[in-house]
Symmetry: D3
Subunit: 244 residues, 6 copies
């Protein structure tokens, strides 16, 4: 692997420093502050003892996600979505992605008629907020389910597989891992990848805003993502005190 | 390529019949009815002689898309979004995807301070409405730009590359091309791919709702999409009377 | 009856060509494309096996209508109502008119606790979209009820009387029938009339935007409407294969 | 004319007592309380020194109306539209009707680039609120324009013709004038008629909710309305101190 | 108490003329027009035979308030909140204040599972509309409860204490009682006080928009309010025919 | 001062531990995490180089505030206001209060045509979030203005006076300072007080939800608030490195 000069100074295949702080706030059943370099997201998991209407009486659970950014989490202040009276298309896209990713991580039929609400709120943004949200929400959800197991409400951790997410992109012609804001802004192609600990794909969302990319470029991006996600899942398990 | 039994009876790599009817309605600068099997979408391209605020005075144009489904385009009637007072997250996701795809097809700096509005309205849905919208909107946009060229308002067709889109998925363990509704509903994995006529990727959006898929599965899906899109672009060019 | 020079070249008492295409789309219980000259509206009738809250348990049914225009069904593109987040006053006025007209055509107490949703979506507009919607929705509703009769869910066609609608107006001082867009725009007075096959009035909505009209003018407009609607109802019955 | 037993005890062609109180509130340029029996509506006319965007620079004025009901103006309390966050279809229909009627009464090209806002707020409802609103708004608008004339801002009263409105309907088979709430509820057919002082029609809005009515019934309803409106216009002129 | 020159010519501790007209409209269980000088508010109390969801089955009642201003109740016309599609922050603040104040006046556990809706609609504004609303709503609520007592639905008047409200402020350095619009506009400090007939505080809402005020100023404002409210409560009781 | 048993174990006149962390996030011109016991609020101050329309061209600045709570900042999860599509009345009341308070602290005519946006987002709630928001926003605003002074854009700190806020209430009959959530829930009376460093009142908002309180109670509450706010302002100045 050659090294190009990234604005961050990182190697093309280097993740930013990751920090996972569990029990970050005191009320939620799971509460994690995830920091990926300067990107900081509070991920909480809240248990509700009922399911949405379309699942009532089916004996299974549900997981759903919401995403938000504090107005000044970004370089220039954004309008507050609550004040504007609606969530942007981007916000909805992201929270749908987080929800699907987490539903792939847990067995919805193994925790009764409950809903797990995942709230991912960006405190400070520096690129990669949606992938950080997924990686952090995984840990928050695990903590919340641990409480249900500990209380006897659920017999065993309803885990299918750990999931984590990372962005990859083509920066000045070179595929790189885990783009920060500066790299992301100057980037032709951006792909968000969600994988599980078997190395399988949950979601792939690639967009070539600048220059379309060929099949070989696609392959190199997927290689980078695969390696990065494997590392992230190790860090998730360490944070949870599990033998990885 | 082996043949599995698809509900549609098609080969795994077979597209549905495609029909492109130009000048379908009389007011729009471009107006195309695209029929992919039983999926029918009206795609219109409307030229507006100004750009959104964020582009004013920059000497370039803009392209944007909106998407809708008639309430009874589907098996059971859906609520009308205008009556509910908001577009769903799915609708917004789709119209953002159409807009990005078409902006990759045309050179925004080559048609002046104009906006091209693409409206994709599903008359009848049978799977693949978002990819049909992209494929049809490409032809509608081409027609609209042709009028600008013919009138002398724009010196030459502002084309970067043709784009088309298709869905691929894993149906009962087999990767298949161009899923209809029945196949889509019974499908573990669904990927929408947008490519150009150089065979490069514009967008890849894969979701493993049921079972995560490995790298080899990913590769076979991309192969199917690549071949299918090449065929679609031939059909677009034929419909436009261009030597493909 | 004298003949003035209408922009359309039609006689003052001449309807535009009417075409009714049944089973236009495949999912709805009733689906009709109505074409009145260049005005084209898709009318679908969808059966729902329940009634709104205010009728629950009363043993009767309900019929309700919604109306929409594709953004580029018109000369210049209109904003999409779903994107703006609300239906205009005009849209609401029209869908309330369609609903009342169709409820006058069928016996709400003769088809059980069901709702018939009528969706009238304008594909191409050239004047008279609201009256075309009523005339087309009548046929779509008839088809939908036929299915309920055929399946035995309803004992007999719950028909009170056929209804159809037409516009009349005063164009350059002359009362004329069935105005197209050019005539409508240059017209002082516009009246939409809904009648049944007994020649009785269901709705009369006349507006003198330019010059108020006297009692004699009113009488001539009503004469024109009465004759036009009688013809429309013949065409509805022919389309349905009924001996008119 | 025979006399049937109306719940109100009135003759079939009798109006309710009408009272017009000018200068009812102190801020508006025109402010009228209209009382038609127990129906009470505050009609204000407010002058704004600009026109809506679509008229800017055309040298003409505009008139527009809004309508509302206090939540407990009715028998049982209605939801407040401001709290629900939207105006009902009925409200929009009514305020569009009031606006069109008043624009037929005044010459929009004779009072400069100004907007006259008519606000009709129902304090107490007992049937006929929309027609009372039109009749009252006519007087409020006249008062407001008088101030513009008095100040010299407008050279002469920009009047085309007085307008007033009344409802007629078929109550137990008999056409009657000026329905109150009890009569209106038990009524098969309801028609609102707006006319000017030349006896010409401005608007006719008839709905046969129960039984369709024939041409002869229509004629008798129009006769009643014509006579009633002539009386109303006399009362408007008296209230304004004009020699009728 | 010295006398400064107030625009109104009133003494610093003088209330405006107060008029309470009961049974102002005919449908509501309680209906009061309150006039405080030129400020006029219609206050209605409507009884609903159920409680909001959060109180269902608890055997107690609820009181809630809504507030509105007619668009031209003010010097220049305000937008209609129903047309804008939302209530302003000011409106919500006021109706929350009215609701809390009235809930302090009556015993929610003494009138069964019923809701009393208080609607305060400003017909003409000249300062002090929120305090007039509270003072008037007290009388309307009393009348509505009297009907429940008279009908035997409630055993006794569920009164805790009479409440009334007044504004006080610092006008040109002098604390004054009951500010009208002109005084309010030129005022540095504005405080709305709600008290009961024991002379105790229910609500105090003071805002120093211009100059902050010290503890002594606070004390003088509270003295003025206390005396004014005692007078208002006497007037409420007189209007209700109670021996004050 | 006697000591009652508060759930928190604090003396009746004891503040919770206060921590002010400046530069908490990196993008905002001012960014403060304020922790009052377990209540944690991120307060950012963002400078925008323009003013709202109503101030354009007047040569003065503006300050405005928004407030939000993360959905799981509270004991049980609240709906996300951005998802519900509107801010609650409580939210609007609070952000109006914060805005007014901060506009009393700074001289709007001394920092040019700029807007300072204050965003107060509650990360963890344990009572007193609105008063903590004001106290924290004061420091964030000071930091933001310091940057304008440092860059020369503004000649001197546009300070009128420091402001801070605290809640006081009557808990089991005893007036206490700085209520936490448990105390607040069990409290009859709640008053939020905003004062400046001259000991003058900016805002007083007292509500007796349970039992009305007399003048003497009011005086003791104001005493407690006055002392508490003096301490808070000392802590603000220390945090800013100013000699208090």
């Amino acid at each position: 692997m050659t090294f190009v000069s990234r604005p961050s100074g990182r190697a093309v295949d280097a993740l930013r420093n990751l920090r996972l702080t569990r029990n970050y706030t005191k009320h939620a059943e799971g509460s994690v502050l995830i920091e990926c370099g300067d990107t900081k997201v509070i991920c909480t998991a809240s248990i509700e003892e009922k399911v949405p209407g379309f699942l009532k009486g089916k004996g299974q659970g549900w997981m759903t996600a919401e995403y938000g950014m504090l107005p000044r989490s970004t370089h220039s202040r954004m309008d507050r979505e609550a004040a504007r009276g609606k969530q942007s298309g981007r916000t909805q896209e992201i929270q749908r992605l987080i929800g699907r990713s987490l539903r792939a991580a847990f067995d919805l039929e193994a925790f009764g008629e409950r809903t797990l609400h995942l709230d991912c709120d960006v405190i400070q943004a520096d690129g990669g907020t949606r992938t950080a949200s997924i990686t952090g929400a995984m840990v928050a959800a695990y903590d919340a389910f641990s409480k249900l197991v500990a209380s006897g409400a659920v017999p065993a951790m309803p885990l299918k597989s750990f999931v984590a997410a990372i962005s990859v992109g083509v920066y000045q012609g070179m595929p790189v891992l885990d783009l920060d804001y500066v790299e992301d802004s100057g980037c032709d192609t951006d792909m968000n990848v969600v994988m599980n600990d078997a190395g399988h794909f949950i979601e792939v969302q690639g967009t070539a805003e600048g220059a379309a990319f060929d099949r070989e470029g696609m392959n190199r991006l997927l290689d980078l993502a695969q390696a990065g996600i494997a590392d992230l899942i190790k860090l998730q398990k360490q944070a949870l005190g599990l033998t990885a």
